[in-house]
Symmetry: C2
Subunit: 458 residues, 2 copies
């Protein structure tokens, strides 16, 4: 048992460590070799006790010296931000208090906080009076929830009899959509063969191609069940034509889910909300506060137009759960025992209010054009359409496909920034994305200068 | 953007809050009314900014005044512990650093830490040389992973063609098993009708009944696919006859998963490991460090005998993921982007070593007999078999079924402890469970005295 003195010591050391971890404005964006990290972990003796100071310095070293510092303002890689400090502090408090969100009776306040946040986000999407949803552990769980809702509503007898004996349900998304949808379709019994990767028009889902694919599947006695539109594709930040897809889905009676994991943050500001035009017609929407809203990883949200479907999909009778008139969270989500994930949005909101968070989102969107400009000015060829989100894919026109990676390597080894490698139309390419609320125009300019050096010197 | 001063202020206030939240040795175990909590949340104005001090005090009040304090040492309710302080601090550091565990290249150190922890836990279970697994967001995700593995290995063409057209796969568990298994079976396309709740013998799965059910399903052209044994049932802490179930599953070529969400902690100590005899024969095992090992909620582990199945089940080709020779976490789990959940076990381990954590587990198990003794001494009738885990179900022999709840209400309203209501064989009953590493014999004695008062005074 930790005594109070030990607790105080632990917390004091944690504060020092946070100061090391949190600032991340200077210092290298990536550090350490994978091999050395692996050796250090392998050599750690887990048979003996250590002081809090030694334990914490071990974890802190691991977090600062191993790999890419996603929380750095010059991390232009994947959409993992430097978390809002209040979101990280919320995690600390939640971890100490450890409220159980399976049932309303155990944690009425936290359950109500999550209900209110879900309701406000659904309202910003425009999902109507009967909307609801839940916090999830991330985008995959949110998309899985959408898939189960679509199956419950679209496949006769699904909850009772399952898929054996049913017509094969089919899922549709654009070829720029997220691969996790295929993984989920397999895990939930649809099979890889029943996932349709459709062509795009300016990197946005082609509605005529979608209509044709649906017709073909119906003709072959398969059951079109779910269309996943993407609002913010990984490579181009493109947003599918949500209103047109919604119209087709309504006509065809197919569930329309909008995967707004990344682009959903646009709903926070009146200036950016028009980018999501048509999302108000969706059956369900997912967004990841751990992408654009500054929550730490593991923070997803699922929103649904008709909350009643959640109980059809997830309610289970049991002997030991306390009864309640309002539906309990465990009866409305894939999860059972649940962490108070919503605190990661609630505490920043208490501190900043919706207008403060909206201003952060606007600052990120405002970097979209400067990012394109700087990359082009450094001599690279831009790929894809004008993006709505602050991301750009590009190539060095003066080098072969297999030499493009050297640019990313140069940037990484400089320690001054980090960009990702990707593939566009099957060919190697480079990708830079603004991830952090703290990234500002000077960081984007610094990236441009670094990329220009990479062209000359790598 | 938070300035450094604001960050320092935020952290200082967080420390004060943690001291309020973390101790939980005194004070009421439950507080506040659900109605008041809901009103307070509803009345919070989210349109304006607040100082860090005000924001944090708002969240802290919510966490302390609303509902059941699961982190209190006299919380004898569901298996949610007071988290180990080092586990909570690990959450803080991880939330600030925010490593992305989808790929090894981004976070080699954290990925290696999780790999080592999974490997050591698998070794303690005895799963053999080819074992692997992953951290999950909890027990449901771990059990879902087991179900997908069983389908991949048991249903021909599952990954390619899905379940439509297949024989209906069937899942088996005892009637004392966890209801989340039914929820998962529905979500993954099996349907409620293909979940078999089997009778028990001393609250442990009846192997003859299991064998009969399998035969019946085969005769009806259904496909027995997964048996879920429970190691630590919710009501009685019973552990199914793992070795006998394993033998039957091997003979019948059915995947055997052991849901050791709660009882899995026994693997940490040589003294308690014999309770899990036979687990070494399982195909997969799940355990929840957020139950017995002092992690905060949202910490699950999935272990599998043959790690190769994970890639069969979850690997997806994509254009933008960085390539790697070792398999990446995103290709081996339901999740994609992943939080560094394993840090919640790693930091306590660094501080205490395996022997220190084992001693904590032993102290919890040592309270099993005293808990039974105290409840019986207070005049209650014990239900169910002698438990292996520190839990007991009971009734007041002197009052009707519908008056048993008054005992729990008296305990709750005293603020001195908290016990759960449950149902046993369809009738209302009471349930007390040791949840916290900090609960000691004096707390169990205090519960006994309180229960005796409840009999007299309620």
């Amino acid at each position: 048992m930790a005594s109070d003195d030990e607790l105080a010591e632990l917390l004091a050391r944690a504060l020092d460590a946070v100061e090391t971890l949190a600032v991340a404005r200077t210092g290298r964006v990536s550090a350490g070799s994978p091999g050395r990290a692996a050796r250090r972990v392998a050599e750690t003796d887990l048979s003996r006790a250590r002081t809090p100071r030694h334990a914490i310095s071990g974890l802190t070293r691991l977090l600062t010296e191993s790999g890419v510092r996603t929380n750095h303002r010059r991390h232009f890689g994947w959409m993992n931000p430097r978390p809002h400090p209040a979101a990280a502090v919320a995690d600390l408090l939640v971890s100490f208090a450890n409220p159980q969100l399976a049932t309303r009776a155990l944690s009425p306040g936290p359950v109500e906080v999550e209900r209110r946040l879900v309701s406000e986000l659904a309202a910003r999407m425009g999902l109507g009076e009967r909307a609801g949803g839940s916090f999830t552990g991330g985008g995959s769980e949110a998309n899985a929830t959408a898939l189960v809702c679509a199956l419950v509503r679209g496949v006769p007898g699904f909850a009772e009899g399952g898929l054996a004996g049913a017509k094969p349900p089919v899922v549709y998304l654009s070829e720029e959509g997220h691969d996790s949808v295929e993984k989920l379709a397999r895990a939930h019994g649809l099979g890889r063969r029943h996932v349709r990767w459709l062509p795009t028009d300016a990197r946005r889902l082609s509605v005529p191609a979608l209509a044709r694919a649906i017709d073909e599947d119906r003709a072959a006695d398969r059951a079109p069940t779910l269309v996943v539109s993407t609002a913010g594709t990984t490579n181009f930040g493109a947003i599918d034509p949500l209103a047109e897809v919604a119209a087709l889905c309504a006509e065809q009676k197919i569930w329309h889910h909008v995967d707004a994991a990344w682009g959903g943050m646009a709903a926070l500001s009146a200036r950016t909300r028009p980018l999501l035009a048509g999302v108000e017609l969706a059956d369900s929407v997912s967004l990841d506060p751990h992408k654009g809203l500054g929550a730490p990883l593991g923070t997803g949200v699922f929103l649904v137009r008709d909350a009643a479907v959640l109980e059809e999909a997830f309610d289970v009778q049991n002997d030991y759960g306390p009864g309640s008139s309002a539906p309990d969270p465990f009866a409305r989500s894939l999860a059972w025992s649940r962490r108070f994930v919503g605190a990661r949005l609630w505490l920043p909101l208490l501190q900043e209010g919706w207008p403060g968070l909206a201003a952060r989102v606007e600052r990120m969107f405002a970097l979209t054009a400067p990012l394109r400009h700087e990359v082009e000015r450094a001599g690279f060829t831009l790929l894809g359409p004008e993006a709505t989100l602050p991301v750009v894919c590009f190539r060095d026109p003066d080098r072969a496909d297999d030499a493009q990676g050297a640019i990313a390597r140069f940037v990484e080894q400089s320690g001054e920034a980090w960009i990702a490698r990707t593939r566009v139309d099957g060919r190697p390419a480079l990708r830079a994305c603004v991830c952090s609320h703290d990234t500002d125009p000077s960081d984007v300019e610094a990236l441009g200068a670094l990329l220009a050096r990479a062209r000359r010197e790598s």
